[in-house]
C-alpha cells in the first residue's frame, strides 16, 4: 500500500466514554418527603404495522378477551385501555412509510423533501414535555435501538430523517435519539446528580459567553442561516436555565423520588436486538422511578425497519420484508409472531413499572404508556384503524381495563388531546383533534 494501514485506527478509537462524575454528590441527596406522585408519559413505537386479524380484541367493553397478539398482556389487562378505530388523516397521502411513521405523534403532513426544507408538526410528547420542563432535570428522553437511517430515499423522495424520528420539538426540529443504554444511564445519573454549585457557576459563565457569541454572529449572517443560530440560542439557553436551577438554593429545587443505583448501570453494547430493547426500556423505568424525566419516547426501529427477526422461532426474514405478506398465510403467521414479540416487550415495561412501589401506589398506576404503530396492515400501508394500546392509569385519571371502540376514522389526535389532559398539560386542540375521547378518562 502507499502507506501502512492500521485496522484499529479505521474502525474504532480508544473506546473512552465520558465516565461518571459526582458519585458522592448523588449519594448525598435524599428522596423527597411524600408528595403526590407525578404522572409520566411514555410512547413505545413499533414500525411496519400489524397483522390486523390477530390484533384487535373481538369484543368491546370491560372484561374483554385479549386478541392473540395482545395475549402477552394477560396479567395486565386491568391496567390496559385498548383503543380501536382511530386514524391519522393527515397521513393518508404520500408514501407508505415516512409520511405515516414520522407523523404518528404529530398528526401533521410532512413535507416531501430530501432535507432542505424539512417540516412536520410538534409531537404530542413534546407538548407534554414543555409543560413540565422546569420540574425535572431532563425535559424528555428520546430513545431507540438503531441509529438514524442514513441518506435520502430516492425512490420516494424523502430524507430518511423523517422515518428515524417520532419526537419533534418544533415542526423543523426532530429530536436526536440516544441508542446506547450505558450513555442513557450516565446521562440520567449526571442529570439527577445535578451540578455542584461551584461547577454550575463556571458553566453559567461559559454559557453566558457563548450566548453572546451567538447573538453577535446572528447579526452577521444571512436570513436563512439565522434559523441555525436561533436553534443554538434556544438549546443553550435551556441548558443555562438548567444549570441555574440546579444551582439555586430555592425550595423548588428538584430531588430524585428514588435514588439511581450505580450497580444498575447497563452494559454499553448489548448482545442482540432483544437485549438491547430490554435495556432501553429499563432506562425508561429508571428515569420514571427517579423522576429524572416524566416524558419518554422509544422507537423499536426506524420507518421501514428491516431488522432481522430470525432470532424468533418461526420467523424467516426481516421486519419490513415480512410486513409485505401479500396475504400468504405463512407470512401472516410470521408477521403475527413479530407483532407479539413487540407486545411482550411492552408487557415487560408495564410489569417493571408495576413492580416499582411509589407510596401507596406503583409507578404504572401513575403512568401512561402508549404502544403505537402508524399503520394497521403494513402490506397496504393503511393508516386507518391504528393499533393503539395504553397501559397504566395516569394517577387514576385513566379509566383502565376496557376496550374502547370508537366510530371509524375518529382522529388519533383526540386520543392525544385526552392523554395531555390526563398528563396535566391540557390543551384546547391538538392538530386535527375534534374533542376528547369519551369514556377514556375519569373526570
Amino acid at each position: 500500500m502507499s502507506h501502512p494501514l492500521s485496522r484499529r485506527t479505521v474502525l474504532r478509537g480508544a473506546g473512552v466514554t465520558l465516565g461518571l462524575p459526582w458519585l458522592e454528590a448523588m449519594a448525598a441527596r435524599t428522596p423527597p418527603a411524600s408528595a403526590k406522585p407525578p404522572v409520566r408519559l411514555a410512547v413505545l413505537y413499533m414500525p411496519n404495522g400489524v397483522n390486523t386479524a390477530m390484533w384487535t380484541p373481538p369484543e368491546a367493553g370491560r372484561g374483554f378477551a385479549l386478541s392473540p397478539a395482545l395475549e402477552p398482556l394477560a396479567d395486565l389487562r386491568d391496567d390496559l385501555t385498548v383503543v380501536s378505530n382511530l386514524w391519522n388523516e393527515a397521513t393518508k397521502g404520500g408514501d407508505g412509510h415516512y409520511v405515516k411513521e414520522s407523523a404518528i405523534l404529530t398528526c401533521a403532513t410532512i413535507k416531501k423533501t430530501p432535507g432542505a426544507d424539512i417540516a412536520n408538526g410538534v409531537s404530542m410528547d413534546q407538548v407534554a414535555a414543555k409543560a413540565v420542563a422546569r420540574r425535572t432535570p431532563l425535559p424528555s428522553l428520546e430513545l431507540g435501538v438503531t441509529p438514524v437511517a442514513i441518506g435520502v430515499d430516492l425512490v420516494v423522495g424523502y430524507t430518511r430523517i423523517y422515518g428515524s424520528h417520532i419526537a419533534w420539538s418544533s415542526p423543523t426540529t426532530p429530536l436526536a435519539r440516544e441508542i446506547n443504554p450505558r450513555l442513557v444511564w450516565e446521562r440520567l445519573f449526571r442529570a439527577a446528580a445535578g451540578t455542584p454549585a461551584h461547577s454550575a457557576r463556571l458553566d453559567g459563565l461559559l454559557l453566558d459567553r457563548v450566548l453572546a457569541d451567538a447573538r453577535r454572529l446572528r447579526g452577521q449572517v444571512g436570513a436563512a442561516d439565522q434559523v441555525r443560530l436561533d436553534e443554538y440560542l434556544s438549546v443553550m439557553r435551556s441548558l443555562e436555565e438548567r444549570v441555574e436551577r440546579s444551582n439555586s438554593a430555592s425550595q423548588t429545587r428538584w430531588r430524585p423520588r428514588a435514588p439511581l443505583d450505580p450497580k444498575q448501570a447497563p452494559v454499553p453494547h448489548p448482545a442482540g436486538h432483544a437485549e438491547h430493547v430490554r435495556l432501553m426500556l429499563d432506562m425508561i423505568a429508571a428515569a420514571f422511578q427517579s423522576d429524572t424525566t416524566r416524558v419518554a419516547t422509544f422507537m423499536f426501529g426506524n420507518a421501514v425497519s428491516n431488522v432481522s427477526f430470525r432470532f424468533l422461532e418461526g420467523v424467516t426474514a426481516g421486519h419490513h420484508d415480512v410486513s409485505h405478506h401479500q396475504k400468504d398465510p405463512a407470512k401472516l403467521r410470521e408477521y403475527f409472531l413479530i407483532n407479539r414479540w413487540h407486545v411482550e416487550q411492552f408487557a415487560y415495561l408495564l410489569r417493571r413499572l408495576r413492580n416499582l412501589r411509589e407510596g401507596e401506589s406503583n409507578i404504572l398506576d401513575n403512568s401512561m404508556v402508549l404502544f403505537a404503530s402508524a399503520l394497521s396492515d403494513g402490506d397496504r400501508h393503511d393508516p386507518h384503524k391504528l393499533p393503539l394500546v395504553l397501559g397504566g392509569r395516569a394517577g387514576g385519571r385513566l379509566d383502565a381495563g376496557q376496550h374502547l371502540v370508537f366510530p371509524e376514522d375518529t382522529p388519533a389526535a383526540n386520543l392525544y388531546l385526552s392523554m395531555l389532559d390526563a398528563f396535566g398539560a391540557p390543551v384546547e386542540r391538538f392538530a386535527d383533534s375534534s374533542g376528547k375521547l369519551p369514556g377514556l378518562l375519569r373526570s
Binding site: 435520502v152 430524507t159 442561516d225 424467516t316
Partner: protein, 586 residues
Amino acid sequence: MEAVAAETSLRSQAQTWTSLIRRVRNHEMPPRGALAPSLDEVERFSQWAEQALRREICALGPAPGPAVVRRLNRDEYAATLRDLLDIHLDIASALPADGAGGEGFDNAAETLFLSPLLAEKYLEVAKFAIDYAAKEHKSRLKVLIASPGNGLTEGQAARAVLEDFLPKAFRRPVTADEVASYLGLFHAARRLGQPYDGAVFFALRGALISPSFLFRVEAPHSSPEPRPLDSYALASRLSYFLWGSMPDELLFDVAAAGKLHDPQVLGVLTRRMLRHDRALGFAQRFVEQWLGTRALLTDKAPDAKLFPQYAADEELRSDIRLQPVLFFQEVFVRDLPLTDFLDSPHTVGTSNLSKLFGFELAVRKDRRKQPQWVELPEGSHRGGLLGMPAVLAVSSYPYRTSPVLRGAFILEALLGEPPPPPPPGVPPLDQPGQILAAASVRERLERHRADPACGSCHSRIDPLGFALENYDVLGRWRDEEGGKPIDHAGELPGGVRFRGPAELKKVLLERKDAFVRNLTAKMLGYALGRGLTLTDACAVEQIVEHVRAHDYRAQALIDGIVGSIPFRMQAPSQAASISRKESSVR
C-alpha cells in the same frame, strides 16, 4: 407532449418544471381519473424535460450558492477536537449520529439540527476533552504556548495563549474584542479561585462550545455578483471535504497569503491532502454513504444463522467493510482512472479475502492479514466494486440474493438513475421472505415482467442483477445453486445481451460517462455539504468534461470539484431580516 412547452418557459419557470417532472415520475401527475400515460411515456417525457431544462439553465453557466452556516457533524466535531488539542479519544461514540439530506450524506447543512441532547453533550465533552488535554504533556505543550514569568504577567500569558488558540478553534483570524471576551472568562475564573492553568483551560473550554467552533460560518456578502469565497472559509471547505477536520497550519498559512484560489496551488495542496492519514476518513465516510455499506452493521448484516463464518469472524467483517474504502483511497492516491471502480486489474486484499474468494490473492507473506493493494489474476471476477463482498452483500437480502435489489443498486448507486417507485397498487415483484432457488426467482420475475405495468422498469432493473447471480450474499463465487447451474444471462431493452459479471462490466464501461457523472454529483454534493440545485448540474457537466479530457483520472475529479464555481465562489445572501426574530425564541 414536446410541443406543449415553449423552451423559454423552462428558464423562467424552472422550479415549476422540476416539480412537474418529479410529480410525473412519481405518478402523482396527471391526477387520478385522467388518462394515465404509459410508464414508457412517463420516462420519455421526464428525460426530455430534464435535458431541456439543463440545457436552458446551463446557457447561463454554473453559479454558486450563498454562504452557509453549518454545524460540524459528529465525525467532523470529533476529528476537529482531536486535531485541535492533539488528543486521541473515541469522542464520536459519545454523541448521537446525524441524519442525512441533500445528496445523501450526513454532512448536509440543511439536516444538521441541534437538539437539547446534543447541547448537553457539547458541554460535557468540552469539559472532558479539556481536562484530558490539561493532563497530557503533548497537548499541554501544544496549547499553553506561554506562561507567566520572565517579564510576562498572568494576563499577558493568558492573552498569548488565547491569541494562538482562538484562530485555530474558530478557523479564521479573530478580533481583539473576541480575545478580550475570552480573556474575561480567564479573569472571572481566577476571581473564583481557579489556579492560573485551570483558568486558562477554562477559557479554552468556552471556545469549544462557542458557535464559532461548533458551526462552520461563512460570512455573507450582499454585492449583486457572486464573489470568491473568503480564503479561510475556502480553507475550511477544503479540509472538511478531504479530511473531515480543521485546516492544518500549512492550509492556514496559504489562506493567509491569499493564494488559495490559485488553481496550481490548489492542485498541489489537494494531492498532499489526499496522501495524508486524515484522508482515510474521507474515503470511509464518502464510500460507506455512497454505497450504503454502513448498513452492513444494521439491517443489511448477512444472516448469522445462514452465514456463521461472517458472524463469527470480526476480522473478516472488517476486511469486507474496508475493502471498497481502501480501494477508493488507492484509486485517488495513485491517480488511477475512475473506470477502475467498474472494473480493475487490482483490488485490496487480505488472506481472509483470499479464503472467501477461493483463490490466493498476491498478499505479502509477512503481513497477510493487513489490507494491501494486489494485482488480480486473469479472469478473477474480482475487479471493480461489483466484485467486492461488501457491495454484493449490501445489495442482497440478509438471507438470499435478489436480482431486483442488485439491479436497482447498479442503477441507483453506480449510474445515478434510480428506478421510479412502483405504480400504486402493484405488489412488489420479489418475494423477500422465502429462500428461493435462483431459477424460480427468474421464473417469477419473468412472469411479472410480462405485466406492462411492471415490465417497463423491471426490464431495465432485473437483467443487471441476474448477471451477478454467480455471487452469493457474502460475495462468494458459485456456479450452481440447489443443484442447478446459475442462470446469469441478461438482456436489456434494445437487445443488449450479456452473461455473468465480466460481460456486465463491459456493458457498464460503455456507460462510463453516466457513472462518472453520478460519482461527480455525489462527490460535489459531499464537498459542498448540501443538496445540488438545478444550476449545480451545469457545474457537474463541466467537471465531467474536465475528467474526460484527463483520461478519467481520479485527481481530475478532485481538481474539477475544488476548482468549480460552486466550491470556490459564493452568491450574495438574502439580507438578514430587520425584525429581531431571535427575541421570540426567548
